[in-house]
C-alpha cells in the first residue's frame, strides 16, 4: 500500500477496526488467515483452500486485516463424501481449474483441519499436477515451522521458499546481484511498508536493493530473492533461515532477538529512533562489508536528523509522560525518553493479556527492562501493575503528567481525557509511522507536540459506559470473554514463550 490520495481514507479505516480485542485476547486467528495474508500479498498468486466452504468464506473477513476483505478465496468445496473417500482428486482437478480460471503464476494450496485430518497426500498430488499447469504450485499445512507465530504466515512463506524459491536450483547457478540486500516487510506490520528511507540510506552506503517485499510483489520478485547477499526482516523468520541453509543467502533481523538473549542488552530490541536505526544500519553495513562507507553516511544523516529533531522537539524535553511498559518491544518508549527527552512519570503495566503468552519471569523481565530504561534516562516513574483507571488517573495527576501515551486498545483513555489529561495514541503511530530511519523520531516529535496542544475533551460519550475494573478498555461482558479465553487456552503448546 502506498501513501497518496488513498492514505487519507486508509488510515482512519484501519484505525476503525484496530480496537477489536481479538488477537490473543479473546481469540486466535487460524493458520488460514495468516496464509491468506501471504497469498494476497503476491500480486500474481491465488490461494486455493483445500477444505469446506466455511474455511474459504469465513476467512474472507480476516482478523489480520478486517477492514479489507479477501475477495478471491476459491476452495475445493470439501464435503462429507470427500472426508470419507479422500479429497485428492478434488485437489488435483481444483488446481487445474484454478489455473485455467485465474491464470496465476502461483497457486498457494492452503490445507484445512478437514483435509489435514483425513490424510490427503498433498505433496504427491501437487508434484503430480504441477506438470499439467503452467504455474508454480506450493502447499502450506501449518506444520513446517513448528508453530512459529503467526503460524499461517510463517508456514506459507516457508512453503514458498522450500517448494518454489529453493526448489531445483543450486546456489552456484544463481546470478548474484553483488552487494545487494532484500528488504522484507509485511502488511501485518503496517508501517513497516514504509521502507523508502531505509532503502535510500542503504543505497547511499553503497548497498544495492535487490527486492523490497511485499510491495506489489510478484512471483518473479520472489524467485529473484536468492540473488541478494542478505535478507533483512524485522523478526526471525523460518524461511530466511532456510534460504541461508539452501542457497547461502544470509539473513538479518532488525529486532536482534538472538543477540539480546545472549547479552540482555535491551537496546538490541529497539530498531527505531536515531540510535536504534543507527545500530541497524551499522550492523547491516558490517554484514555487507561497507563499514567505511556507512560511517560517513550515518554520521551525516544522524547529525542532520539530530539538528532537525532538536528544533522540532522544543517544548517536549522534560515533559512528563505516562506510558505502557513494553520493554522496548515496540520501541516507542525508547524514542520518548531517548529522542524526545521526555520524562517518564508513570509506567503502566497490564499483564492480563500477557499471562497466557509469557512466563512469569518473562513478564517481570519486560517490566524490569522498561524501568531500567526510564532510570537510564534520568526518570523515576511510578509503576502501576494492572491498575484501575482511577488509579491511573490519580497517579498521573499526582505526578503532574503532561501526556498519557496510551491506546484505547489497552486503557480507558476517554476517562483520562475527561480528567483533563491529554492523550496520544501510540497504536496509531506504530501502525502508520513507526519505521527504521531518522525521519521517524522527527515525525513523532511533531505529533507529540500537536497532542499537547489538542483541545481538551472533557465530555467523551465513551465515558458513559461501564468498564471492567481490570481490563479497563473492555466492558465487563468482553472482559469475561477474555478471561474465559485465557483459562480455556491454558497449557496450549506454542502459546507461551520466554523472552
Amino acid at each position: 500500500m502506498h501513501e497518496g490520495v488513498s492514505a487519507g481514507f486508509l488510515r482512519p479505516l484501519i484505525n476503525a477496526y484496530c480496537s477489536l480485542p481479538l488477537h490473543g485476547i479473546t481469540a486466535i486467528p487460524g493458520k488460514i488467515s495468516g496464509a491468506l495474508m501471504v497469498a494476497d500479498a503476491i500480486e500474481d498468486a491465488i490461494p486455493l483452500i483445500h477444505g469446506p466452504i466455511g474455511c474459504s468464506y469465513q476467512r474472507k473477513i480476516n482478523p489480520f486485516r478486517p477492514y479489507l476483505p479477501f475477495y478471491d478465496t476459491p476452495c475445493t468445496d470439501m464435503n462429507d463424501l470427500d472426508v470419507v473417500y479422500g479429497g485428492e482428486d478434488k485437489l488435483r482437478l481444483g488446481i487445474q481449474e484454478t489455473e485455467k480460471r485465474y491464470h496465476p503464476n502461483l497457486i498457494v494450496v492452503i490445507t484445512t483441519c478437514a483435509s489435514d485430518l483425513i490424510g490427503d497426500d498433498f505433496k504427491a498430488v501437487i508434484e503430480e499436477t504441477k506438470g499439467d499447469v503452467g504455474c508454480e504450485v506450493v502447499y502450506t499445512t501449518g506444520d513446517f515451522t513448528e508453530k512459529s507465530k503467526p503460524v499461517g504466515y510463517q508456514d506459507s512463506l516457508y512453503a514458498i521458499t522450500d517448494q518454489m524459491i529453493c526448489n531445483g536450483i543450486e546456489k552456484e547457478e544463481i546470478a548474484k546481484n553483488e552487494g545487494s540486500v532484500n528488504i522484507i516487510t509485511f502488511p501485518i506490520h503496517g508501517a513497516g511498508l514504509k521502507t523508502d528511507e531505509m532503502a535510500s540510506v542503504l543505497r547511499e552506503m553503497g548497498i544495492k536493493i535487490n527486492k523490497v517485499c511485499f510491495d506489489h510483489t510478484r512471483v518473479k520478485d520472489l524467485l529473484d530473492l536468492p540473488m541478494a547477499e542478505l535478507t533483512i526482516t524485522d523478526y526471525p523468520m523460518a524461511w530466511t533461515k532456510l534460504m541461508k541453509e539452501r542457497l547461502d543467502v544470509d539473513h538479518y533481523e532488525t529486532v536482534a532477538w538472538d543477540s539480546y538473549k545472549e547479552s540482555r542488552n535491551a537496546e538490541l530490541l529497539s530498531p527505531y529512533g536515531i540510535e536504534g536505526s543507527t545500530r541497524v544500519f551499522t550492523e547491516i553495513a558490517k554484514r555487507m562489508d561497507k563499514e567505511g562507507e556507512a560511517e560517513e553516511v550515518l554520521e551525516r544523516r544522524k547529525s542532520e536528523a539530530k539538528g532537525r529533531l532538536l528544533a522540532v522537539r522544543k517544548g517536549l524535553a522534560g515533559k512528563k509522560v505516562a506510558y505502557t511498559a513494553m520493554g522496548g518491544l515496540h520501541s516507542l518508549e525508547v524514542m520518548l525518553l531517548q529522542d524526545m527527552g521526555m520524562e517518564a512519570s508513570v509506567i503502566i503495566y497490564n499483564t492480563l493479556g500477557l499471562e497466557r503468552l509469557l512466563s512469569e519471569d518473562a513478564i517481570q523481565e519486560i517490566l524490569d527492562m522498561s524501568l531500567e530504561w526510564a532510570k537510564k534516562y534520568g526518570s523515576d516513574p511510578e509503576v502501576l501493575v494492572n491498575p484501575t483507571t482511577e488509579e491511573e488517573r490519580k497517579a498521573m495527576k499526582k505526578t503532574g503528567t503532561d501526556l498519557a501515551v496510551l491506546s484505547s486498545l489497552s486503557n480507558a483513555v476517554y476517562e483520562l481525557d475527561k480528567a483533563g489529561i491529554r492523550t496520544f495514541n501510540p497504536l496509531e503511530f506504530m501502525l502508520h509511522h513507526q519505521r527504521v530511519g531518522f525521519e521517524c523520531p522527527i515525525e513523532l516529535a511533531i505529533q507529540l507536540k500537536e497532542a499537547l496542544k489538542k483541545p481538551q475533551r472533557r465530555k467523551p460519550l465513551l465515558s458513559m459506559l461501564e468498564y471492567d475494573t481490570r481490563r479497563t478498555n473492555l466492558i465487563p461482558h468482553w472482559a469475561k470473554l477474555a478471561d474465559m479465553f485465557v483459562r480455556l487456552r491454558e497449557g496450549a503448546i506454542g502459546d507461551k514463550c520466554e523472552v
Binding site: L22, A27, S56, Q58, T76, N79, R101, L488, I493
Partner: protein, 425 residues
C-alpha cells in the same frame, strides 16, 4: 443452467457466496438472548465466527466462546476441554441454553460431543444441546434450519392464544435487523396482532413457549422446516410471507398473516401508510424519475433478495439484470421460477462466475453485502448494503429497511448512493 432457467455453478472449484453450517447455527443461537454458543473447533473457526459477530452486530452482546481445543488435543481428543468450557460458560454467563457446535476437526477426530453434553446436563442447571456443524456437512442455511428445528425439542404444548404469532426466520445480525423488527411489530400491532416468540430474537423461555401462538409466520421461507415440525407437533399452522421490503411486499405480508388468523385487514392503516410514503416520494420525485429504469444486480440471501428484487423491479422500476441468491432455503427454487421481475437468476453461484456474469450486464447499481464491494468498484457502480454480512457499515438508529417505514429509507439509501459520489468528468 438447469431446465427452469436457473443458473447454478459450473466448476468444481468454488469461491463460495455462502458460509458453512457453523455460521448458520451460530446465527440462530445468537438470537436466543440468553444462550451461549461454544465453538468446539480449532481456533480459526471460533475466531471467524467471533469476528463476523463483532463486526456485524451489537458489540455488547457477543456470546460466543471457544472450547479451547488445542493442537495437542488433536491426538487425544478434547472432550475434557469441552467439559471445562461448558462449566466455565455456565459460571460466567449463567445462560439458559448452551449450544455446542461440533465443528470439522473434533467431528473427524470422533469427539463424543453428545456424550459430554449428556453428562453435563447433570452438572449444570442450564439446557444443553449439541449441534452437528462440521464445515463439510453443508452450507449455513442448513445449519440455521437444523438449529431452529433443534430448538423445538425444548418446546412443550401450551394453551393457544388468539392473534399472537411467532416470527420465524429472523437473524438478529442481518442488516438493520433491530429496526426492522420494530417496524414489523408496529405493523402487526396495527392489525391487533402481537408477537409471541421470534426465532430467533427472543429469550430461551419465550422460545420454549412458542407453541402458544396461533400462527407461525415464516419470513421469506427461512426456517420453514421448523414451522412444519411445529405444525405437526403442536398443531400450529404457518404462513410463508415475503420479507416485507417495499410497499407491496409489506401489504402482502399483512394480508397473508391476517388471513392466516382469519382477521380482516385493517385497510385504514395501510392507506395512511401509503399516503405517508407518497408524501415522501414527492419530496424527491425528480431524482426518482432520474434513476428510473436503472440496471441493477441484487446479490443476497433468499429470504431478503427475492423481496428486494420485486420491490426494485415492480415499484422503483429498475431492471434487475441479475438476481444472485447467495444462500438459499427450501422455497428458493420455487421463487426463482416466478421470473417476471429479473433477467437472470443464479442460485448459490460461484463468486468468480457470478462476477463474470454481472460484468457483462451493464449494471449501474449493486445491492449486496460487504463482499460485493470489490465487484461494485470494478463496475464503477455504487453498492447499497442490504444483505448479510455487512461489516463496513453500522446501523444504530431505528430506521428500518422493512415495512412501510422502510420504503423511504431504502429509497433514500439508493438515491444517495448514486448522487453522493465524487467523479471527475
Amino acid at each position: 443452467m438447469n431446465n427452469a432457467g436457473i443458473k447454478t455453478r459450473e466448476g468444481l472449484v468454488y469461491d463460495p457466496t455462502q458460509d458453512c453450517k457453523l455460521v448458520g447455527a451460530a446465527r440462530a443461537i445468537a438470537g436466543v438472548k440468553d444462550a451461549i454458543t461454544i465453538v468446539h473447533a480449532r481456533p480459526g473457526c471460533h475466531c471467524g465466527v467471533l469476528l463476523l459477530r463483532a463486526l456485524g452486530s451489537n458489540q455488547n452482546d457477543i456470546r460466543i466462546v471457544s472450547s479451547g481445543l488445542r493442537a495437542q488435543d488433536m491426538v487425544y481428543g478434547a472432550e475434557g476441554r469441552l467439559t471445562e468450557a461448558i462449566m466455565e460458560s455456565y459460571i460466567d454467563f449463567k445462560p439458559a441454553l448452551i449450544a455446542v457446535c461440533n465443528c470439522s476437526a473434533p467431528a473427524i477426530m470422533g469427539d463424543d460431543v453428545e456424550g459430554v453434553v449428556h453428562a453435563m446436563k447433570e452438572e449444570i442447571p442450564a439446557e444443553l444441546t449439541a449441534l452437528s456443524t462440521g464445515g463439510y456437512e453443508g452450507p449455513a442455511w442448513m445449519g440455521y434450519e437444523e438449529t431452529l428445528a433443534e430448538l423445538i425439542r425444548f418446546m412443550g404444548p401450551c394453551e393457544k392464544e388468539s392473534d399472537i404469532v411467532n416470527l420465524i426466520g429472523v437473524k438478529d445480525d442481518d442488516v438493520n435487523a433491530y429496526a426492522d423488527l420494530l417496524e414489523i411489530k408496529r405493523m402487526l400491532n396495527s392489525q391487533g396482532i402481537t408477537i409471541n416468540a421470534i426465532l430467533t430474537s427472543s429469550s430461551f423461555d419465550e422460545i420454549r413457549k412458542a407453541p402458544k401462538a396461533s400462527l407461525n409466520v415464516v419470513l421469506g421461507g427461512d426456517g420453514l422446516e421448523s414451522a412444519k415440525i411445529m405444525q405437526q407437533k403442536f398443531d400450529l399452522p404457518y404462513v410463508i410471507t415475503p420479507y416485507p421490503i417495499g410497499l407491496n411486499n409489506s401489504i402482502e405480508f399483512l394480508d397473508l398473516i391476517t388471513r392466516g388468523l382469519n382477521k380482516a385487514l385493517n385497510q385504514e392503516f395501510i392507506e395512511t401508510e401509503r399516503e405517508r410514503i407518497k408524501e415522501r416520494i414527492e419530496n424527491i420525485f425528480l431524482f426518482l424519475q432520474g434513476v428510473y429504469d436503472t440496471s441493477v444486480a441484487v446479490i443476497g440471501d433468499s429470504a431478503h433478495a427475492f423481496s428486494l428484487a420485486r420491490f426494485l423491479s415492480y415499484e422503483l422500476c429498475f431492471n434487475v439484470k441479475v438476481l444472485a441468491i447467495t444462500s438459499k432455503n427450501h422455497i428458493s427454487l420455487a421463487e426463482a421460477k416466478i421470473d417476471d421481475y429479473f433477467e437472470t437468476v443464479l442460485i448459490e453461484p460461484d463468486r468468480f462466475e457470478m462476477n463474470e456474469e454481472i460484468k457483462t450486464k451493464g449494471v449501474g447499481l449493486v445491492f449486496g453485502s460487504t463482499l460485493e464491494k470489490k465487484l461494485a468498484w470494478e463496475l464503477g457502480a455504487p453498492l447499497v448494503r442490504m444483505f448479510y454480512p455487512v461489516i463496513d457499515e453500522v446501523t444504530i438508529s431505528d430506521t428500518p429497511y422493512a415495512g412501510f417505514r422502510g420504503v423511504p429509507h431504502i429509497i433514500e439509501k439508493i438515491v444517495n448512493s448514486v448522487i453522493n459520489n465524487y467523479v471527475e468528468v
